[in-house]
Subunit: 398 residues, 4 copies
């Protein structure tokens, strides 16, 4: 880690606190599009300060930070739902950027990676299908058939985050249904969202909100959608392999962000406990039940942070595949911490915690999904146990 | 309990399932007012069937059921957020009805109780103030001063549920600030919502929704609001005593309703587990983690139901004050069960559970407050412990 | 329930408190045999008062109480590890009594049931084998082969509770290994413990104690043990069916007893909280953390008791098989409550709770097995879930 | 950390596994004294290998390792209850060594430190009194009065670990009862155990065992015990300050050891899950409930280890006082992990887990105290919360 990092972390913290957090009320009340102009201004500011896209290499406009360095920044960004967007590290764009960087053809890089890295467009990643469980990704109905020089795609996806208003989506399709190995049957194809037949069925109303723009999740349909053969991303049949590559670091990014949320929640909890009075002169924080909620949260967040930094280090050394068990471990462990900490923060705030006057309600609602997306707790626990039991001579097929 | 009850319960169950549940999607998508016309129709149907206002006496149009009998119906109504409204047993109206019935003057009964019992108007109960904690109800800034034959009220309240569109509110006011006993200082006053100076500051956005009409919580202001002296409800200085009377049964009503929610959540969980496939021919319910979530939920709901019926029996025998410890016990115990069961139901459903396609998201969001309103868990646990420790010779002032 | 029960319960409570509890220190320090003479005296007293063997019919010397009536007495007996022994309702003898009563031949009743019911001898039930999991009871290596008029038994059992000093054991043996249905292969055979070849390998040291006499668990071996053909208990091939019959009520008996333990633990916790001082004049019970441990324990015990009484009622109406799901539910639910309540009681007592000066250490150690014996939590949860999911159309083979 | 550490850790691991673990059955069955001769032999071996007293400086025969380095060794030693004893790092001797090293006079070092460091004698630390709570250490009845050149000590202590067979005890006594600051009233005095008036009241039976020698906890009395003035350890009135110094590192030592226990428990759990069959060919580890117990344990142990290493680093940088919050955090966090992991390991083993055939029962019983000794969970959580809330402007006196 470079010696400048602590300063950088402090500066980013200040920036997020001073500039981004103040946009929350507008975002919570009027939605993403209402806050977008101000977010764009902040993005320019971030670029000007040289903080753009920290985890991506300098040649595409990033800072070239390692995963461990970025982890610390990500915790700062994660404190507000708008943080990552300001640095262009928001999901799914950051994942798409990483995949395009590694597997994109020169033309794809020019057409899709460049404007995405510059923050001029947004993108989506269409994988999950409503008819099939996310825990069994190879069970998929969306197909792409090569007709001449075009892929003809038909299918149905949902929870396509950020699709609303995006310029293109990377779509997981079965291209080779007859291959014996299920994991070799799918490919990733880049589909501009204005391609005929590519429909946004709806923005799914999630936890009380349809959302809009980046802050929404769409159900989409693809009916005889045609894109050029060159829109294949990476090799044919490598769809799952490439998806796996993105999901590893993606999970770490989520965990880092969650720790930022936890810290914010703990901070709010402590501020309120220190200042809210139960009776004149008697602060809420004098109650032992409140104290213990604070101490438990502090301990769990501390554990989560150390585990994420440790996993980041392992990923840097061994790659995402080599650190698979560590990634699965933080995925379910940190998601659990997140849910408990936010829940305690709401409890400490009482009625105020239920309201959208604070960001706690947003975290409580939308981050309930942390235990579900990118692999449910139950799936990751099983992955970890299988890997451990293998060392003891027991090989379990899921 | 009358011998007809089982049949009645089954019929109400069928009615709620067939007629009320189908309104949920409209309610979730377009709000309370959109669904109100159909709710009014259902109310007429309920009246026609003789199921109106089950816990209230026949002379005001109710069924005159005991608390234990009503508990079973309430579980049926509780399965959907709209259930109680259809039977006119929704909070806070049911509580206001009970208070008016017991403490209202003949004129108050004619003017306020009658149309409320008939379902022609709605009402509110304004107690909590944003500046003071709900756990210390005697700490209150809203005042009512008698000037001639009028009460002049000034104050600030929030979480005044159902205020939006209501005809009157019962407002807790400090009328005798100089009395030595804090519990003797407040009175309840009926204030028509169209009284000059009575302002709706906002519908508080709660868990992502402002809501509207009955399904909303308002922040309100009272500036030199004048009502006739006769609008005092019950005796002067009995504000807290009367509030206490309503809160006991109110908590039981909530608990009964929560069990209905739990049952619905368990049912959805089981249906999904039995039919959703992880792989062709392999149902989600074959996973042991899912089975254990079902079994734990079943056990906890069973425990909760028995405790609520037991508490209802004690309230019928001893009154709410005599069953105070039992009421506090179910308040925190059932609220905990509720949160865990709904959480598990979401986890079993994965992404679908996050969406507003199912009622789980509504329960998850809005019933997070169950551990807060009408006394936070921490307060009720302390109440229970104090009462037990008193038997062991230790007297603790809170 | 007879109207006398409340009085009877109060009297038994007083007796257990006054007469049985005082033997605990001797038992904890010097073991079962040291306390046996006094227990025998108390047994005579119990007989004299007409309280002997409450759940068994009068013709064998019992009180003929129903399961619900006995539940309340059992809670009283359960408060001390020695309680049930004094009433001759201790496991495994009570289970053996019930089985002999229902399935025993006249000769078996005369020779085995009578002295057991009279409290002159003790008995054991040998089912579990160290080589095979209790969760799969049909997987068993102990065999009984009919040679002429004798069964020749070979096998290895453990956790044969109360074997030490017992007069006979009922032994589960595979008698018909070639039958297609595994559940039809085993039979129960009565084996006097002095039969040649019947060896006590050891008293298993369990949670720090080998124990002795009734309060011990043995590992036993059977090498060419020969007993007369007439020692077959019930029909050949009905071993599992008869075992199932005993296990249902047996689980309820355990649950009832556990509630007694919980009540004792809560009582100790409260006494200590009310009297132990943290500082002069400041009782331990003034701490909110302690209060919440008390309230949580109270609520959980209350839930457990209501569930056990409810299950007892269902067993009386539908039989153990018809109430299988209810029995499985209380088995894991109450075992969980038991562990948490005892754990909290220890925590409240601090160092004293770790010592054998109180019964808490005994409960903590020996009742850890409550989540294991007679079906582990995980097995019962799966049983409950399977039964529920069947109603939703999903049939799962374990 | 020196570059040799990884090798050293591996070698110590092998030694503990090969040489110390095999003594467990004898220890569990026949007690400490039975295994002492073999332990002495191993101690010689440890000295020969240069592994003696790793955390103490070389001038007293130790290895001079830093806290972080020792943490890794301690995890290895902690895997068996006998591990630390073999390296002479067992509590309370290691704490007494550290205190004597820092505060002992040359004569005290010669007479007490030297033989203790050499492993020729054992020692005790007498602080807790049965009449007063450990959470309020300044409330103490044991007094030492200076008469001429002698301290005359009277008092009553318990949970004096390792007193049985020890050569001396360091005794906390009130020497200056009239000072205004309670924390300035006590001093530490070295008392040889053969001093007249120094009585061993009993070895307290703890969790089913009186234990003996080092593996026991005594209740002791001091009646007019006289020791020379020079036996004062450190300055008069610094009793609490010195105690505090020992408790910080002491807590870290405990946490390190607990992680060793956790690792052992997880290892046993995995071995059993991988090999025990539920049915022919179907391992226990194929059950999802077992997998999740393994994954949760793995995650929690990983978190605990990272937190302990992080705290060790902070202690090395800032001293125990500067890292007080970190130490309190790991104290309650790791104790919780310990209890859950051992509990799960027992559950996975079923009946075998209850028996003393495995070390799990020992850990389950004796390490229940981890949440109590050296500050109960509740105390440490309050310490952490107070320290955090202070940053938010709220100052809470306990």
């Amino acid at each position: 880690m470079t010696t400048q990092t602590p300063d950088l972390v402090a500066e980013v913290r200040r920036f997020v606190r001073d500039e981004v957090v103040r946009l929350e009320p507008l975002f919570f009340k009027h939605g993403f599009n209402a806050v977008l102009p101000e977010l764009q201004t902040l993005r320019l500011e971030v670029k000007a300060r040289g903080w753009w896209l920290p985890p991506l290499p300098k040649e595409v406009g990033g800072m070239g930070l390692g995963l461990g360095e970025f982890a610390q920044l990500s915790e700062e960004m994660g404190q507000t739902p708008l943080g990552n967007f300001v640095f262009n590290t928001q999901a799914p764009d950051i994942g798409n950027l990483e995949v395009l960087l590694k597997h994109g053809s020169p033309q794809q890089k020019e057409r899709f990676l460049k404007p995405l890295a510059d923050g001029e467009i947004r993108s989506a990643f269409a994988m999950t299908e409503p008819e099939h469980p996310g825990s069994n990704p190879v069970w998929m109905d969306t197909t792409a058939v090569l007709e001449g020089n075009e892929w003809v795609i038909n299918g149905h996806k949902w929870y396509t985050s950020g699709f609303d208003g995006s310029s293109f989506a990377i779509v997981m399709c079965v291209t080779d249904p007859d291959l014996p190995k299920p994991h070799a049957r799918a490919s990733q194809i880049i589909v501009p969202t204005d391609t005929p037949g590519f429909q946004q069925v709806r923005r799914i109303s999630v936890m009380g909100e349809e959302g809009e723009g980046w802050a929404s999740h769409s159900e989409i349909g693809l009916r005889d959608v045609r894109v050029p053969r060159e829109n294949l991303l990476g090799e044919r049949g490598k769809g799952f392999a490439i998806a796996q590559e993105r999901l590893g670091p993606g999970r770490i990014h989520h965990c880092m962000r969650w720790i930022g949320i936890c810290r914010r929640a703990l901070e709010l909890m402590c501020q309120y406990a220190a200042t809210r009075e139960l009776a004149p002169g008697k602060a809420l924080g004098t109650r032992q039940a409140v104290q213990h909620m604070i101490a438990d949260s502090y301990a769990e967040i501390h554990a989560a942070r150390l585990m994420v930094l440790d996993a980041a280090e392992k990923v840097e050394k061994l790659g995402a595949e080599g650190a698979r068990s560590e990634i699965s471990t933080i995925k379910f462990f940190v998601a659990g911490v997140l849910q408990r900490v936010v829940d305690r923060a709401i409890q400490v705030h009482g009625g105020l915690g239920m309201s959208d006057d604070l960001p706690l309600s947003f975290f409580y609602r939308h981050e309930r999904a942390a235990r579900i997306y990118d692999g449910a707790d139950e799936v990751h626990k099983t992955v970890v146990a299988r890997s451990i039991l293998k060392e003891y001579g027991l090989d379990i097929s899921l």
